[in-house]
Symmetry: C2
Subunit: 543 residues, 2 copies
Amino acid sequence: MINFETSPDRYRHWKLSVQGAVATLGMDVQEDVTIAEGYKLKLNSYDLGVDIELADAVQRLRFEHPEVRVVVVTSLKPRIFCAGANIYMLGTSSHAFKVNFCKFTNETRCAIEDAATNSNQHYIAALNGTASGGGYELAIACEEIYLVDDGNSAVSLPEVPLLGVLPGTGGLTRLVDKRKIRRDRADVFSTLAEGLKGKRAKDWKLIDGTFPTSKFQEAVNARVQELADESNGQQQSKGITLNPLEVEATQDGREYKYVSLRLYNDKRYADLTVRGPETDSRMSTEEIEGLGDSFWALQAYRELDDALLHLRINHLEIGVVCLRTEGDIDNVLAIDESLEENTDHWLVSEIMFYMARVLRRLDLTAKSFFSIIEPGSCFAGNLLELAMASDRVFMLNDPNRIVEVAKSAMNFGALLMSNGLTRMQSRFLAEPGKLDEIWGHEGPFNTKAADKAGLVTFAPDELDWEDEIRVALEERTSLSPDALTGMEASLRFAGPETMETKIFGRLTAWQNWIFQRPNAVGQQGALSNYGKPTKPQFDFKRT
Amino acid sequence: MINFETSPDRYRHWKLSVQGAVATLGMDVQEDVTIAEGYKLKLNSYDLGVDIELADAVQRLRFEHPEVRVVVVTSLKPRIFCAGANIYMLGTSSHAFKVNFCKFTNETRCAIEDAATNSNQHYIAALNGTASGGGYELAIACEEIYLVDDGNSAVSLPEVPLLGVLPGTGGLTRLVDKRKIRRDRADVFSTLAEGLKGKRAKDWKLIDGTFPTSKFQEAVNARVQELADESNGQQQSKGITLNPLEVEATQDGREYKYVSLRLYNDKRYADLTVRGPETDSRMSTEEIEGLGDSFWALQAYRELDDALLHLRINHLEIGVVCLRTEGDIDNVLAIDESLEENTDHWLVSEIMFYMARVLRRLDLTAKSFFSIIEPGSCFAGNLLELAMASDRVFMLNDPNRIVEVAKSAMNFGALLMSNGLTRMQSRFLAEPGKLDEIWGHEGPFNTKAADKAGLVTFAPDELDWEDEIRVALEERTSLSPDALTGMEASLRFAGPETMETKIFGRLTAWQNWIFQRPNAVGQQGALSNYGKPTKPQFDFKRT
């Protein structure tokens, strides 16, 4: 059972220090502290455990240190920045684990970019030694990259030439789409095991600057200070503390304060229930700050995020997740109003961007999601997004009991998908007029109105309700899990593409394909043979 | 050895008839006429041989029948339109063949859409019977879909529920991105083996209309006539004839008039040489029409297209293709001028769109392309696109011999990639100013100027030239072919995405992944077990 919660005092691989507007994330991977057996994390190579700490730090910096403007990512080891994902870990992992590992590390790197874009927290990679593979991919997720010029240190993506796989953390996409490096140079760089150093790396735009060893620290500091000064528009309050989540975990599920995950392992589905807030009172920013991480919007989404990660990595055979809500629609709408009225407040803004990231994690989870809307549920505003993120929405049609959903402003802007659209926009690509119609609707939607508005897939009556859901679950869990993953990835993200959708769609799909191929993972494959005296033997058929 | 050339008098599976502005493509697949052994093409199911005829018809309609405004695609068999790609063919094919088969059929469907967009030739699917799987994917590549309402005929995508793979010909992407069907409905439809009929299919926008059997023909005819009248703006000349290509094929390659393909099978690379036109005289549209398919631009690109298809399907182990040209730069530029000055002439316009499609076929070919620019070459204008489409460009730097490339207007608009950009735009995403610089350059670029302009990856001098290319080839052909395919697919298409890039990037990559998975192709997989009394056994881990 892999646990995703950590905190700086428990970090084994990173040192986080904060001085005024500048934070430093120092990588110092302990080679014996691994998440599984059979490999050592030499040369600041990483496994999932290392990345869980990084993800925690990136998240915590936004909530606990809103005053930070620049985050310097560097190594505490001499001559090596980071050697990337540990190859022996990859070579001995199952296909499912490799895929999930890459997805999580990709989300962490997207979170770094999200901090820069949305929170004015700028990441600088200070490469005091070689950054290879995932090491360079971590650097390229930062806004600027500085490399020491010591005659030895290089940046490289040696995955294709050495391992017969792709750089799995967005590297290729960021080369041509973020740094917009010419495709032929990107091609050369991505097949050059030893990578590039100094001036040529700079000329090819792989890095933003290079300085001799003696001046490296000073030059980086100067740039960091400059950036901190430039970005110092808003003075921000002190942060809040993200305390550990309280959760009761059993083999049947996980019980948090606002979230329940209940597993039906034999039937391969789970119920994931989010409970709404206890009160319908609007809150001031002072009250929200006072509540800190116990404010419903933050706590419920942290719990949801944790539950999703557990579902992905620890419960591989769960095929369908039934999303449910419990509570009062008005209470959820009061939360949304409190948030929407205060978007210029740092904490409110952070909470909203966090909710968006958690919902994107849901969009990117390789499980089928069915929303089940029954009496007592509160699919309203931000929680209506759960339904909009679902592959199907079932809403009970029972004129004798109140079944309602409701929209809020949160459905029309704040909670963007990876493709840069709201879920409503993606849903109604063919009929953008629907958005106005839904926006203009007074009060909650009963089942008939929701169905008419296009918010619902099926609205069975009380006689059919249980059977219809049971049959849908049985049917869904009987299908090929791989075909479903590919199908959902193709249907969930209509409309425009972004770097993020390219990374999770195109690049990930190719990497998953390669991760299956005998040329990588077969007995004679490159990944299996890495570090052995034997050489890989390829089937050279090009497909 | 699969042959890609055919013509209507040799069709076995389609009947093409033209009456004025309306053409009819009738599908009547001969079940015993297959491209390989071991299966029968029942129920208008298809294999590559059927699709080669379809591709030929789509192409021919543009050149031979420019007067055609509407193409009706229908079935000549009762009660069945088309059952899609033949499952037993897929089940018994190699991975490489499945991938290449899907790529070709995808290109054919994109060509149908290209005809509508660029040549005012509109495709109507008249489904006089059930269209399932690839049958519905053929329909959804058309602009409008009409389904007979006989109580039985349906449209369906049963791949996920029945075969454990994806619809492989763009179906999922076109559901949500072309027809913009709501994602939850697309989800239901794509998992419903029996599909949808009549009114519900219409309500969900899977079809554009449904008519009872007795009125079907009449209603379709009325709509076809309406569309033909609407589209009848330009009266166009008679078409030209596309005669069979003359080619001398040996086991070492293929020799056409303007194109040579030479295979070095033991070294796993090939030389693909295009010879420029014989003359530098500009041509009038009358002269171009007079030359017909022997006009250089049409003949050379038809030969190039054929060579590329042979490389893909018949020469799987060739890893690198060296693109070379021979001839006079001025002659190529004269062709480009003749074309660019007459873009409003139907044949010139068709030729330019065809050149664009051939170059896109090159972009989408899973081989590494190196352009080799030496004395005597003519990488100018449209042929400079070969270099811009290459993963790397080598240009000899020898001050004692003339080595030049040249741009023309063709590099700045007509020859769009799948992402909707010119190759120059894709190349210089980071520096759009380069486009003006190159456009403003007087005369040809020598090696130094080409290098400075960013048109060249490496410019070795005469001492290093041969060694550098030899080493680059040896290196490239030693790498994992799968990793290269994934890498090239990720680096070639920077910038915006279109439905076409989604189909060839995202959807294809997922399908290729699924085509490798034991859940599809293992002994217990769904594809392997289709039509057998045994049921598939899935490993239900979700990845």
